[in-house]
Amino acid sequence: MQAAPAIVLDNVHLNLSSSAGPVNVLRGVSLSIGAGESVALLGPSGSGKSSLLMIAAGLEKPTSGKASLAGSDITNLGEDALARLRRETVGIVFQSFHLIATMTALENVALPLEFARADHAFERAREELARVGLSARAHHYPGQLSGGEQQRVALARAMVARPRVLFADEPTGNLDTETGSEVAELLFALPARANTTLFLVTHEVTLARRCARILRLKDGAILSDTRADAA
């Protein structure tokens, strides 16, 4: 029996209002991503990549169309139900890390488990930090960590609850090449080990090519959907 797709979008539209008038960010996007797949979303700035990620991750509601995540229809879920679904099934890594400044690296990583009232939150967080190579920095605050270290903490935080899907929005965009490639290694290794679907938003073709599938987005619509080796 085939597992349910991790992400399904069906004719998703997203219209946002702006001072210059309404903007059609997404125009009828449909896609299906299977469990354990690694998918890159490529596209120029303003093409709607981040918006698509936010709808897929349940951070944004589509104006029309349907979205489902890990087999659940999230189109009409309330904010708190979406939060619960996210902590059980989703991990997100941002370009700007978005760690909580008042918490240590360990506390940042443990937080999703604590929200989910999971057992042994700190032990698991410590293990996850070890996986990203930051055991020694567990008690450092974000302000005391370099950009690469902060992103590794963010990656550990995203993966600690063993999510079904890992969303990554330009995860190496704020890092230099060397640090970026270290983070990229972890970005692909950790989900692969946990059979987690990876949904990567990037404008770097080389990074995208490390994914099994590449989606190209332009002006809010899917331009192409290809396997990496065919891209």
């Binding site: 981040s50 936010m54 951070l59 944004e60 904010e79 708190d80 939060a83 619960r84 996210r86 902590r87 059980e88 989703v90 997100i92 941002f94 700007s96 978005h98 760690l99 909580i100 400044a101 008042t102 918490m103 506390e107 443990a110 937080l111 999703p112 604590e114 929200f115 989910a116 302000g143 935080r157 995203a158 609850a161």
Partner: protein
């Protein structure tokens, strides 16, 4: 100068952004300045009102006051030679409501001189013998056919009774102003006795309510029946009369004489008001009176000091309220300083750019200083305007209820003062963060958020801020009529601010060192309390100071109230019986003795006398400590005793032998003796009913007024003083169940005896205290409001960080409830801690005041505890959640786009 002009040009450009980032700064200043301006304007309105209406309030341009004796013919002639005079007689008496069908006949065998005892009109000024009471008592005999005492028929017709403040007036009264009567009718006609037995009287509505009477109803005072011809709605000279123990009743002088209550030894105040010609000098009148009657000890009051007690009260309360306003300004200053700090934080890049482009530190300082002070000037002007307008609003809303004549208007001095206070406060609190920004290098400005710079600014700038603070203190002390009170208040407020800042720093230090909480909500809440830019310090200092003031006032209110209600009645008598005549004394004793439950019954001779010389030095020239001067101001109640009164505690000397009848010996209050510089063996001269009695101090006693029992600061040995006509004062303690029967028994049998029910006086006093405490508490709310503004500002300043946190927490799976719980915990913890610290500070301040000022122990109160701790937590929680609600409600996608 060039750099000043350049700075001003740059500041003007900065001002284009308006009040953005300065709303709390602006509001804090407006609030503090408005409070000071309003208090000053209101006080000036009341004080000028009192001054402008002085002759109406006094009832004349000057008033000669004498106790127990009217002016002699010579003194009266002297007063009349200056202008038209009006004489009034005031005393306390019992009024009895009569059923209207019964019109008992008054005492018919009225002695010819009964209304003119003693010096009243005929006795020569220099006569040294005491005026002798008539062989016939100067009032009707008890139980006789025309007695003042009630017959059984009369007792049946009496329904209710109460103590009243009785005032008898002549035909010239009032010399100034007009009487308010309802229904409106001629005042003299309202008091007329006409040809019948019943005289007219006007009385306050309170009396009619207490006696269940309506206008036209009958009441009896002493031996005279009165018909209440109108309700007294306005008595122009009431304010100059002092504290009232009962409702006011006005009758004619002729009618008062028919009551039989005016006798030698009765507690009576005579006032002779004089209407001086327009060009006459008050000072000249006083000088002439002293020169003409040097030994008479005439107390002369004038229109410029018509109601000195009220004048003093308004000044003292305005000092207190101005200081509360200054506290609000100081609390607001904390917020203002924070606002400037936050503003400069947002301007870091701009400041760095200016510096990178060649601006020196002074230019940066001046630019932002001018900007901040421009906004401060605008805020101070707005506060001054609001403060000037507030009294007019008070007049419109509560004008009819203000018991003091007020001249509402614009008064420049308090408005100017408030404006200056506003500007100085802004400078004092804004300079330190400005000086700090001036010192920081461009590079460190960029990094300051991560690793805050500890630069404090150069000394001259900090000294300038300190000078602004000291100027505020100096100005507040300079304009205060009570230097020491203001100094103490400011020292306490300043000390409180420093102590609370230190407590806040200590709290942060402790929290940082606590092991992390196992659950995320408390851990995040604690982390929020110590994060850079958290509201902790601002809230603890600003809201804490406001709550401390409220706690101080509440504890003091409770302490004084407990003293009045709690400790007094335990030892205090249930009744004071005033004006018991010698002829009634034995019967009175028997009446009281019928109550087996009566305790501590004491009947003591009561004579009014004035201290005129201390150790041979006239009292007016003697060096007397401030806290003992009250004993020389006017007549005091004195007594005599052969036997040492029960519970007397002698501190020096010995009591005279029981049989001693020689030269007068004096037993004196030891505190008073100390204040007057008197010792055992020194002489003291008293003037009693016009006669000087010199006595030698035989012993000193401890006098404890807090017991509420009979306390005489001066007790004389018998021999001479007991020959003076006098009445008796009696006190007794009975259980509550016997109070009403005893009240009825005494008032039925002795209608001329005034009965003061201690319970009623305490209730009245307590009511007065409660009103005062309510007003003071309401005023301290201004300080709390300032604290809340700071709280709002501090939380709003951290809103961006909270939006960020809540967005990230939502992204990683936190529900709104979980985030709300974090914030709620943080605010409750902060608010409760602030409240607890405020309670500590308030208790300390209240203890200091209770011990040093009232010499009593403070009473801790659950009300204060709940009000400060729970109030602090609730206010912080409510404000915190209201302000951060947006962070909870915002959808994460919306924020992620902006992060």
């Amino acid at each position: 100068m060039k750099s000043l002009l350049l700075a001003w040009r740059l500041a003007r450009r900065e001002l284009r952004s308006g009040l953005a980032g300065f709303r709390i700064f602006f509001a804090s200043l407006v609030l503090g300045v408005a409070a000071i301006a309003a208090v000053g304007s209101l006080a000036d309105a009341l004080l000028t009102g009192l001054a402008d209406n002085g002759r109406v309030l006094l009832g004349g341009d000057v008033a000669i006051v004498s106790v127990n004796q009217p002016l002699t013919a010579a003194e009266r002639g002297f007063a009349e030679s200056y202008g038209k005079i009006s004489q009034t007689i005031s005393m306390r008496a019992m009024a009895y409501a009569l059923a209207s069908s019964d019109t008992p006949r008054p005492c018919l065998s009225w002695p010819a001189n009964a209304g003119h005892p003693g010096r009243f009109g005929t006795e020569p000024e220099k006569k040294v013998k005491f005026p002798r009471p008539s062989p016939e008592p100067s009032r009707c005999h008890l139980g006789g056919p025309h007695s003042l005492a009630m017959t059984s028929d009369f007792q049946k017709s009496v329904t209710e009774r109460t103590l009243v403040e009785l005032k008898a007036v002549d035909a010239n009264y009032p010399l100034y102003g007009s009487m308010g009567l309802a229904p409106r009718r001629n005042f003299s006609a309202s008091l007329a006795c006409g040809g019948g037995d019943i005289c007219g009287a006007v009385a306050e509505q309170t009396l009619l309510d207490r006696l269940h009477l309506a206008p036209g109803g009958l009441l009896r005072i002493g031996a005279q029946t009165f018909r209440v011809s109108a309700v007294l709605t306005d008595e122009p000279d009431r304010l100059s009369g002092g504290f009232s123990l009962g409702p006011h009743v006005i009758v004619s002088t002729a009618a008062l004489r028919r009551t039989g209550l005016v006798t030698l030894g009765s507690l009576i105040e005579y006032k002779t008001r004089v209407r001086l010609p327009a060009n006459a000098s008050i000072a000249a009148f006083k000088r002439a009176a002293k020169a003409r009657f040097p030994g008479a000890g005439l107390q002369i009051r004038d229109r410029d000091h018509a109601a000195p007690g009220i004048d003093r009260f308004i000044k003292q309360i305005s000092v207190f309220l101005t200081l509360v306003g200054l506290t609000a300004l100081a609390i607001g200053g904390v917020g203002a300083g924070q606002a400037v700090h936050a503003f400069l934080d947002r301007k870091r890049e701009e400041i760095a750019t200016l510096k990178a482009l060649g601006a020196d530190g002074m230019l940066v300082f001046l630019t932002f200083f001018l900007q901040v002070m421009s906004i401060a000037a605008l805020a101070s002007a707005a506060g001054t305007t609001a403060g000037a307008a507030l009294p007019f609003a008070v007049e419109r809303l509560y004008g009819a209820e203000i018991p003091v004549p007020a001249n509402f208007g614009l008064f420049a001095p308090p408005l100017l003062l408030a404006f200056v206070f506003g500007m100085l406060s802004a400078a004092a609190f804004a300079i330190p963060p400005l000086a700090r920004a001036r010192e920081i290098a461009p590079a460190s400005l960029f990094r300051d958020l991560v690793a805050p710079t500890r630069t404090r600014g150069r000394f001259p700038y900090l000294a300038a801020a300190g000078c602004a603070g000291l100027l505020i203190v100096a100005l507040a002390l300079a304009v205060s009529p009570s230097f020491s009170f203001s100094l103490w208040f400011l020292a306490c407020a300043g000390g409180g601010l420093i102590a609370l800042s230190l407590a806040a720093a200590g709290f942060r230090w402790v929290i940082r060192r606590l092991p992390p909480a196992s659950r995320p909500a408390p851990r995040l809440a604690l982390a929020n309390l110590t994060r850079p830019g958290s509201a902790t310090t601002a809230v603890i200092t600003a809201l804490g100071l406001g709550l401390s003031l409220l706690a101080t006032v509440t504890i003091l209110d409770r302490t004084i109230s407990a003293q009045v209600n709690g400790s007094l009645p335990g030892t205090a008598p249930s009744f004071y019986f005033i004006d018991i005549q010698p002829a009634e004394a034995a019967a009175f004793d028997r009446t009281i003795a019928r109550f087996a439950s009566g305790r501590d019954y004491r009947r003591t001779p009561m004579i009014r006398g004035r201290i005129v010389a201390l150790a041979g030095i006239p009292a007016s020239r003697a060096k007397v400590a401030r806290d003992a001067r009250w004993a020389l101001a006017g007549d005091r109640g004195i007594t005599y005793a052969a036997v040492e009164p029960k519970d007397t505690v002698l501190t020096a000397g010995r009591w005279w032998p029981t049989t001693y009848r020689g030269q007068t010996r004096i037993s004196l209050d030891s505190d008073l003796a100390h204040g007057m510089g008197l010792r055992i063996g020194d002489t003291m001269t008293l003037n009693v009913l016009g006669r000087d009695i010199e006595g030698r101090i035989a012993n000193l006693r401890d006098v404890d007024f807090s017991t509420g029992r009979q306390n005489f600061v001066v007790i004389l040995s018998p021999g001479i003083i007991d020959k003076a006509p006098h009445s008796f004062l009696a006190t007794v303690r009975v259980p509550p169940r016997d109070e009403e029967p005893m009240y009825r028994a005494v008032t039925n049998r002795f209608p001329s005896v005034s009965v003061v029910r201690v319970k009623d006086v305490i209730a009245e006093l307590d009511q007065l205290l409660q009103k005062l405490a309510f007003g003071v508490r309401a005023a301290s709310l201004v300080a709390i409001l300032a604290g809340l503004l700071v709280l709002a500002g501090a939380i709003a300043a951290g809103l961006r960080a909270r939006l960020y946190d809540s967005t990230i927490m939502k992204v990683i799976g936190a529900t709104r409830l979980q985030i709300a719980l974090v914030y709620a915990l943080e605010y409750i913890l902060l608010g409760a801690l602030t409240g607890a610290l405020a309670l500590g500070a308030g208790t300390a301040a209240a203890s200091l005041v209770a011990h040093r000022v009232f010499e009593i122990s403070p009473v801790l109160d659950w009300g204060a505890l709940i009000l400060t701790v729970a109030g602090g937590a609730t206010l912080t929680l409510a404000f915190g959640l209201a302000i951060t609600w947006g962070a909870l409600a915002t959808r994460p996608a919306q924020q992620l786009r902006n992060l």
